[in-house]
Amino acid sequence: MTYYSGANGDFWIAGTSVARVQKWAFNTTVALLDTTSLGDTDATSVYGIRNTAGSCSLFYWQDNQAQGDCSKLIRNIVQGRTGSSTTVPGKATAPQSTSLRLRLIDGSTDGRFIRGEVLLTSATMTMAQGDVFSADITFQFLGAPVEATL
């Protein structure tokens, strides 16, 4: 019997493994539809819409002028005004979807993973004394994951 820990984790953005990821997590929930009829004493339900969302924390780093994966990911939603619209406060590049793979390295060729197209729903970056600058990202899968082998 084999157990796994953070040392076995891996995180891919758009097909590339991310070097400095601190943690990732995902959460799948299913809404229930109430079917309790008059005369019933206990609630009855059936499955409704399923939702998969997740989060990750990436360390921010630069290699000389080259920015790391953290920048690559947050740029999907953190956008300044661009081009001729710099004087227009309400105009900037629209948020983009990206693909993520949350992977467990188990010794097999592909490992175990959940992957799919995601919409980033938040990016929080905190600079603080004693902490490495990092970004906390939350995301929502576009429909069901493309593949889930965990």
Binding site: L33, T35, L38, V46
Partner: protein
Amino acid sequence: MTHYPRFPVPTGRIYKAGDYSHGTHRAMSGAEIRILFGNKRLASTIQLIYKNIPDKEAEVLLDHYNSVKGTFESFEARGAIFNAGWKGPTKSFLNDTVHTTDLEWRYAQPPQLQSGYIGRSSVTVDLVTVTY
């Protein structure tokens, strides 16, 4: 005479007891005279709510609506739509035939069907009593 479908059992029910037919006359002095025109209660209504029922059962309800020509014809209604969840001493209290006569029902308006999750719908049916 068709009967309202006994199944599915509603998930909710709102009943309004109707009223006795009467007239009100007010004199110039402000005095009010009320005249009772009959001894039977009229126009009780019931709203039946079917939340998240299978589409197959929703079809049963709509089929019945078609079978009585929509709001045109009247029909009998008994059973779970009145009794389910009701623990009063008179089992058929909501389908009262004591204080009304030859009680029948008809659709007060077309049923409303709300589509939700795959294979599940919510239907709301409004019925009103017809007294002969």
